[in-house]
């Protein structure tokens, strides 16, 4: 069973980087399933007193209900568009030292990405639309990365 994954990040924010960064991810839950010889993740012992399920099951259930069944698609869509506008708005301004606000702008890209995931989970995005949404998020990301790199280059 796969418990780790190693990724070489060839690009960041759509820009080629060198040297490339490596990311090693480890599935702690998966490892624990093996170590504790347990079938269901919620049956894992979190400590002597609580199971993993005691702590995370309500969370999982509530967010599943929200993201798969309850979330209002029209609201998510409107918020997505707001975030898109916000990113460009933020990048249009500068801080007191004249610096671009790349990091706050990127924060809003993450929000847009999250809203996209909610719409996707609600089944509101058709196959053909999917690519276009992903492309929009990627464009925003690239704008932030370019602003950041421009600032780094200036210093």
């Amino acid at each position: 069973m796969e418990i780790t994954q190693y990724t070489y990040f060839q690009q960041v924010g759509g820009l080629d980087v060198f040297p490339v960064a490596g990311e090693l991810t480890i599935g702690l839950e998966r490892l624990s399933l093996y170590l504790q010889d347990v079938e269901n993740v919620y049956d894992l012992r979190f400590n002597d007193q609580f199971s993993y399920g005691d702590i995370y099951l309500p969370n999982e259930q509530q967010f599943s209900a929200f993201e798969l069944e309850v979330a209002d698609v029209a609201t998510a869509k409107r918020h997505f568009e707001d975030m898109e506008t916000q990113v460009r708005f933020i990048l249009g301004h500068r801080g007191r030292q004249g610096q671009p606000l790349a990091l706050p702008a990127y924060d809003h890209v993450l929000k847009a990405s999250h809203l996209f995931n909610i719409m996707d989970a609600r089944g509101a995005i058709a196959v053909a639309e999917r690519q276009s949404y992903i492309g929009r998020i990627r464009d925003l990301c690239k704008l932030c990365a370019e602003a950041w790199v421009a600032e780094q280059g200036a210093n």
Binding site: M1, Y8, P19, G123, V127
Partner: protein, 670 residues
């Protein structure tokens, strides 16, 4: 003669890219060695999870020396011309000789040593290698499919020294990641290399890995009175994932056997790369699987089998969840959702597509199943539901189960079995080896599905060009042809398809008939008649093939060609005489015999063609052979008497036209 051994060691190469990489390496090496005048006696490449290997036998130690004579300027030419020539070729005047007033230089180019050339070629191949996807690893900027870890390059027992972006070549490599001593070992030639790898738990040859996997897996199954469900694609893949493949038999919770077998097999194959196992007595899936480990475990694989079983359980539990959820919603109630699924920007939603398929299915039903009125309604019902499973959980997880799941859900809802079968089979045939739906309802929906694809994409100008066929229209066209022929459906294509689409279908049919061994000129001869009924076209081609395969047919063809040539030659001189040939006083006996014979065919030939008795029509034509041969033996067409000449031309035209009703014989070669 010296041997070249090259190994490019890297991190794990995706299995799907390995066979192509072996071919590309072979092609590039052959081309580039040949361009340098280095021709190996044999060259072979290997690809596996971590290495691309090439061995070339019988290379010369160096290029041959080359002598060439260079022609310079005339001795009378100005000095600048001579200076230019000397400068360009790096010569001095005393190296020139004069012949007939022209300067000549004889150049001796000594051939370079092969290792120097190999170093250049390997670097160029590594840099130009056409990986579908490549990356840099952070160590250097060199792009390779995955981080490159080592280059072994040995020529005639010696390391060929070079470096590519800091990756230095050497004479050693390593064996298996975890088994063996993990120490690098020297390989002075291919034998050492291959044996050294084997001792360090690496099977170099992909075919060898496949053989070992298959044999070991079958043995494991046999010992438990089970049978491996063979899967060539999966075998190729696992042979590309492992360097030391060790099949392991694991157990699955029998409770999962209530899932459709396709779901179990697909989950095993797609998610886990396990082979399914069946009970030879019932032919049904057994609660076991075979996975292929990349290691010979100390406990004989028991821990691996247990771990794999655990993951499979998790996957099948997911599948069961989807399967149970899916069955809570009727297919009919899923149709609304198709309105939100774009089929193609210019062709509307999947819902629009379903409406088109329904209407096509209704129109097609009487052609597929003439006289059976029940087919039309069932085909319409099946067509309306055929894409509904695209919104289900199982198909979302396993797109390759589209159609199949719809069939299960339809059966579960208690829909007519013919409707369920049609939903299940409407994507068929998916390739030349896939079977054609035989039930008339299924055949109707399958035909409607493919015709809609073809008509729609041709309608927006998306025709396949060269190797580009993103919407798999060739496959759809072949599907239409095979369904129509298998069901012997008398479908007038012109009622459904525009000229360009008919030409496209005709082209696919030609390919299909050629693949079946029919002569392509015969296919052309029949297509020239402009028919749009595939069943009739094929019947004609077959009859024509049989006819021309026999002696009479061949000879008659010769007679036909002679008649047509004469008519063509005469046509150049002026318009051919019109009207029917007549019997006239003093007519030559053989001429009259031919006229009587060909005239006697008028009616029977028309009748035979109307009855589509092409073999009969061909037999009638075959009877013309003797009178036609006799006519050309005895009678001079170009008589000096113009009435005779004209009558004979009319007679030849009549023979030509009679034969032309059966096929355009002018398209037949030989």
């Amino acid at each position: 003669m010296p041997q070249l051994l090259l190994e490019l060691l890297s991190e794990e190469i995706p299995a799907r890219m390995q066979a192509g990489a072996a071919r590309d390496l072979e092609r590039m090496a052959r081309e580039r060695l040949a361009a340098e005048g280095l021709l190996p006696e044999a060259l072979k490449t290997f690809a596996g999870a971590r290495r691309l290997t090439l061995v070339a036998e019988g290379l010369p130690p160096a290029q041959k020396d080359r002598h060439e004579e260079l022609k310079g300027p005339r001795t009378s030419a100005p000095d600048q011309a001579l200076d230019g020539f000397l400068r360009k070729n790096g010569l001095t005047k005393d190296q020139l000789t004069e012949k007939d007033g022209v300067w000549f230089a004889t150049l001796h180019r000594s051939g370079r040593a092969t290792p120097a050339i190999v170093a250049e070629i390997v670097e160029a191949i590594v840099r130009d290698f056409p990986w579908p996807k490549s990356m840099v690893s952070g160590v250097s900027k060199l792009r390779w499919v995955r981080p490159l870890r080592g280059i072994l390059c040995v020529f005639d027992g010696e390391v060929v020294p070079f470096a590519i972006d800091g990756h230095e070549s050497g004479g050693s490599t390593v064996g298996h990641r975890f088994m063996g001593d993990a120490q690098p070992f020297l390989a002075k030639d291919f034998e050492h290399y291959r044996d050294g790898l084997e001792r360090r738990y690496v099977v170099l040859d992909a075919d060898e890995r496949k053989t070992r996997i298959l044999e070991a897996a079958k043995t494991l199954c046999f010992a438990r009175n089970l049978e491996l469900v063979e899967d060539q694609g999966l075998l190729d893949e696992v042979a590309g994932l492992t360097e030391w493949p060790v099949p392991v038999l694991g157990d699955m919770d029998p409770a999962f056997l209530d899932l459709p077998p396709e779901v179990i097999r697909t989950s095993m194959r797609v998610h886990q790369r396990y082979f399914a196992v069946r009970d030879p007595a019932t032919g049904k899936l057994a609660p076991h699987f075979v996975s292929v480990a990349n290691i010979a475990a100390r406990d004989g694989g028991a821990t691996i089998a247990r771990g794999n079983a655990k993951v499979l359980s998790a996957r099948l539990s997911d599948a069961r969840f989807f399967w149970e959820e899916d069955r809570k919603v009727r297919l009919e109630d899923r149709l609304e959702k198709l309105k939100g699924v774009t089929f193609h920007a210019k062709l509307g939603t999947m819902y629009d597509r379903v409406q088109r398929i329904v209407s096509l299915a209704e129109t097609l039903a009487p052609y597929v199943a003439p006289g059976d009125d029940t087919v039309r309604a069932k085909a319409a019902e099946a067509a309306s539901l055929c894409k509904a499973d695209l919104g289900t959980g199982v198909v979302g997880e396993f797109p390759e189960l589209q159609g199949i799941m719809g069939g299960y859900y339809a059966a579960g809802e208690g829909l007519d079995p013919a409707v369920a079968t049609a939903i299940r089979e409407h994507y068929k045939p998916q390739g030349p080896s896939d079977e054609v739906p035989s039930d008339p309802v299924a055949a109707t929906v399958a035909l409607a599905d493919k015709l809609d694809t073809l008509v729609s994409f041709f309608g927006i100008g998306e025709k396949p060009t060269g190797s580009r066929d993103p919407f798999a229209l060739r496959r759809a066209a072949l599907g239409v042809i095979r369904i129509v022929l298998a069901n012997q459906s008398r479908l007038p294509l012109k009622a459904f398809a525009a000229d360009d689409l008919i030409a496209f279908l005709a082209d696919r049919l030609k390919v299909q008939l050629r693949d079946e061994g029919q002569r392509h000129d015969l296919v052309d001869a029949v297509f020239a008649l402009g028919d749009d009924d595939l069943v009739r076209i094929v019947a004609r081609v077959q009859a024509l093939g049989a006819f021309l395969g026999a002696e009479d047919g061949k000879n008659l063809l010769a007679g036909y060609k002679r008649a047509v040539n004469i008519l063509k030659a005469e046509e150049k001189k002026g318009p051919l005489p019109v009207g029917a040939p007549q019997i006239y006083p003093g007519m030559d006996g053989t001429e009259q015999a031919l006229l009587v014979h060909v005239s006697s065919l008028d009616e029977p030939l028309t009748q035979a063609l109307a009855a589509e008795d092409f073999a009969g029509a061909m037999r009638m034509l075959a009877g013309l052979r003797a009178p036609v041969d006799a006519f050309f033996d005895k009678v001079l067409v170009n008589s000096e008497i113009s009435t005779e000449r004209e009558n004979r031309l009319r007679l030849l035209a009549k023979v030509r036209d009679a034969m032309g009703q059966v096929a355009d014989f002018s398209q037949v070669t030989g």
